[in-house]
């Protein structure tokens, strides 16, 4: 199988039935389908169960600190726009501690691809409620039931100005793979909220299986329609909510990579020009 190229050879260590296995499979399959060169990919991961993606994905990787995978990815992408930059983050990582970075990267349309492993719980820290945990759910930090409203993350992403907004379900690897491929091919910022069952701390698999349905016949360039869809709560649409092409952030910037190669000459030639303003 071609996917082996994207395999570090380490045996994934998640709980049995964990949705992360499927996300890993979908990502590898997407890379394979797109015939990407592993050395041209950078995966940036946050801290959480999702963060272990970088242990298994045989691409360049940066396992960042909790909540800051996105700014790291922004740094990578602006410096070298040729790289495919994927962010693996969690609902805690992206929506709790790292929320601001997510929305700012979306607003700026930085060409990074953010995949949120949204298991609606802080898993690695042994199961606390997070910003997508539904009301009433009992967790270690909410023993009497969660009394906070969860975020509507699709709505937030749309509101922030994201140019590619999608939702996936880890149990449907084929569908998720296609979403990831679209995201990678998208010019600017792409956001995929992936519903990911966590059998150990908050197992929504059965409920999700019932509620999830695939978006069809939806005009992905219609922002208002996307907003309306995002409000659905009885059933959960998966697929692309919104997709328009705009100039990516990094396209506005010079190329640091170019400067890299000519850096030595620079210091000699240009500096004197700059100094004129100080005389």
């Amino acid at each position: 199988m071609v996917e082996k190229v994207f395999d570090t050879g380490r045996r994934p260590q998640w709980c049995p039935g964990c949705g992360n296995y499927s996300i890993l499979a979908a990502v590898k399959a997407a890379f394979t389908d797109l015939a990407l060169d592993p050395s041209e990919i950078v995966a940036v991961a946050g801290i959480g169960c999702h963060g272990r993606m970088t242990e298994y994905l045989n691409v360049n990787a940066f396992h960042a600190i909790h909540g800051r995978a996105i700014p790291v990815a922004v740094g990578v992408k602006t410096v070298n726009p040729n790289l495919t930059v994927i962010v693996h983050t969690g609902d805690g990582d992206a929506y709790s501690i790292g929320l601001s970075h997510l929305l700012h990267a979306a607003r700026r349309n930085v060409g990074i691809k953010v995949i949120v492993h949204n298991n609606m719980v802080f898993a690695l820290t042994t199961g606390q409620a997070g910003p997508t945990t539904p009301k009433g759910v009992k967790t270690r930090s909410t023993p009497a039931g969660n009394y906070e409203e969860p975020f509507n993350t699709i709505l937030l992403a749309l509101a922030s100005g994201a140019t590619f907004v999608a939702r996936g379900f880890s149990d449907d690897v084929q569908h998720l793979k296609e979403l990831i491929k679209l995201a990678i091919k998208h010019r600017g910022f792409a956001f995929i909220d992936v519903l990911q069952p966590c059998p150990t701390f908050y197992d929504l698999r059965q409920i999700l299986k019932q509620k999830v349905y695939k978006l069809e016949k939806h005009d992905v360039t219609d922002f208002k329609a996307a907003l309306e869809l995002a409000l659905e709560s009885e059933r959960i649409p998966v697929g692309v909510f919104y997709h328009v092409e705009k100039t990516a952030y990094e396209e506005n910037l010079g190329s640091a990579i170019k400067r890299l190669s000519s850096v030595k000459e620079f210091s000699k030639i240009r500096l004197s020009k700059l100094l004129a303003r100080f005389s």
């Binding site: 600190i65 800051r68 790291v72 922004v74 410096v79």
Partner: protein, 567 residues
């Protein structure tokens, strides 16, 4: 008539009255006359309201190391300025102000001038009073009109504004000439090679450019923002990326990502921002990603005094972030050193793959010094990994010097795994105690070579004597000034604060009476000397009111604690 060889003028007024522009024109005009010029300023952290001033010092023979604090002339754009600073005016000096202001003042040596009238006549907006006043001041001082008008022209980008200001300045100049007799000392024009008037912030930016910086990011913060402004302006010209991040957590992590991708990345901030960067500083260290953090110290704690100076972040810079890792902390004392060390910071970061913190402060960052020529600095390329076919790349290979082979994403067949978790040589997460220990030791092995560099470059000595005044950072400049009136005291400047140059410093102060002066409360350099040298200085002078030392203060300190003075 005397020629002024050591002149100090102060320009003051309310925020929004163009005090800084006036100071800049005054400074450039005097620089063009061949003087060695120094300027410094003070302003409150409000856009309107509150008092601000610029002080311009100009010396004819010799270097203007710092302010004197005893102006020969004051241009008072409001009464407050005259009242606040008049007391320190030199005997032969003068206070220039508009007639209307003069009326409210009951002071000596006031020169009432029809500045508002001039502005009105010229059809300029009221704020142009500043240029009328400056024209008058430089007229009284017998400056070259052409040099003045040139400087005015260069100050304003928009032609129409420049023109009006030139007109006003000229009219002011004529008025000043009329009152020329009031000042017995005059400015002389002498031949001089072209020199620069450089502030610490710009020097840091230029040094970073010389050091190959290709990615700069910051979140605005006083007094570090001018670095962002300057680099944003020249980004196209220099082919660099400049990003204003949404906060400091983001800026430093962007810098880390940029460096991982191959760019020499610099992030600039001040205290509150450095505090926010503490976590990611450790991430840079753990991932061995080279980054340079410029921290322009301001007066703390917390929001503190955003526009005032201090040296309060030294221990924090050395210990910031949980856990343990090697880092470098450098502190320049003037723009030349700022330029050099900024370039060196990048070289060191990349050679050793460690975070480097450059500590400046508001006084250094926003004061201007005359620089004859910037020293040659050299961009040193780091060693990069050359892929070997059958060998798997190991980002964290255990090496003798602790430095592992570095390479950037995009090299065929190479997989880079960079990890903030403790990791093995390949970058994979590990909890194996043996590996954990080896990795911790590997990172700290870098200190061996770094310490050697610190010993050889970390201490600078000026003058001779059996008393040593030990300082760090911008206190150096004031001390250089103070030193001119002292004998028997040598100035010892610590430039590398971490790793600490313990042997060199010990050698330099051996047998000396040791004095220390710091712009802080808790004597942080002293604490480092205690820890590293087990030494207690003879006397310590602290200043922690948001203001730099004056040369007089240092003079008196030395006088009280050492012998051999002639001042």
């Amino acid at each position: 008539m005397d020629y002024a060889t050591d002149l100090e003028v102060l320009i003051g007024g309310p925020a929004g009255s163009g005090v800084f522009a006036t100071g800049a024109v005054a400074a450039k005009t005097l620089l063009q006359h061949g003087y060695d010029v120094f300027t410094t300023n003070e302003y409150p952290s409000t856009i309107r309201g509150g008092h601000q001033w610029v002080l311009v010092r100009a010396k004819l023979n010799g270097k203007a190391f710092s302010h004197r604090g005893t102006p020969d002339a004051i241009l008072a754009l409001d009464a407050h300025t005259a009242l606040e600073h008049g007391g320190r005016l030199k005997d032969r000096g003068a206070i220039l102000c508009d007639e209307s202001v003069a009326q409210t003042l009951n002071m000596h040596r006031i020169v009432p001038l029809p500045l508002s009238k001039i502005v009105k006549e010229a059809g300029a907006p009221p704020v142009a009073v500043n240029m009328a006043g400056l024209g008058a001041l430089l007229g009284m001082l017998g400056c070259d009109l052409e040099l003045l008008l040139n400087a005015v022209k260069r100050q304003w980008e928009k032609a129409r504004v420049a023109e009006l200001n030139v007109k006003v300045a000229e009219l002011g100049y004529e008025e000043g000439v009329k009152h020329g007799s009031m000042l017995s000392f005059k400015v002389r024009r002498v031949e001089a090679k072209q020199r620069l008037l450089l502030d610490g912030n710009s020097a840091v930016a230029l040094g970073a450019l010389a050091g190959g910086m290709s990615f700069f990011t910051a979140y605005p913060i006083t007094p570090a923002s001018p670095i962002l402004h300057f680099l944003a302006e020249v980004q196209e010209e220099c082919g660099i990326i400049v990003v204003q991040a949404e906060c400091e957590l983001s800026s430093i992590n962007m810098a880390i990502g940029a460096a991982f991708a191959g760019a020499r990345a610099v992030v600039a901030t001040s205290g509150p921002g450095l505090s926010l960067m503490a976590e990611a500083l450790g991430a840079a260290a753990m991932t061995e990603t080279p980054i340079v953090i410029v921290n322009v110290q301001r007066s703390g704690p917390s929001t503190g005094l955003p526009t005032h100076t201090a040296q309060g972040d030294l221990r924090f810079a050395i210990h910031a972030s949980h856990g343990e890792f090697p880092r470098v902390v450098l502190a320049p004392g003037d723009p030349v050193e700022a330029y050099q060390l900024s370039c060196e910071a990048l070289n060191l970061a990349w050679k050793f793959q460690v975070p480097v913190i450059l500590l400046t402060d508001k006084f250094l960052a926003e004061s201007h010094w005359t620089v004859h020529e910037l020293p040659e600095v050299e961009l040193q390329d780091a060693d990069f990994y050359q892929p070997e076919p059958s060998v798997k790349y190991a980002r964290y290979k255990l090496t003798e010097d602790g430095v592992s082979p570095l390479v950037f994403p995009g090299v065929k067949g190479v997989r880079i795994y960079t990890n903030t978790n403790e990791h093995d040589e390949q970058g994979f997460v590990t909890v194996d105690p043996a590996v954990v220990k080896l990795m911790q030791e590997k990172r700290f092995r870098k200190l061996k070579e770094l310490s050697k560099l610190s010993e050889s470059r970390g201490v600078k000595v000026y003058g001779e004597g059996d008393t040593a005044l030990v300082v760090w950072g911008s206190v150096k400049s004031v001390a250089m000034e103070a030193l001119e009136k002292v004998e028997g005291v040598k100035l010892v400047q610590v430039i590398w604060l971490e790793p600490f140059p313990r042997r060199s410093l010990a050698k330099e102060i051996e047998g000396c009476k040791v004095l220390v002066a710091e712009n802080n409360f808790t004597s942080q350099l002293v604490s480092l000397m205690r820890e590293n040298l087990k030494l207690e200085p003879h006397a310590v002078l602290n200043k922690y009111d948001g203001r730099p030392f004056s040369p007089q203060e240092l003079n008196e300190f030395m006088k009280a604690n050492a012998g051999g003075f002639h001042g």
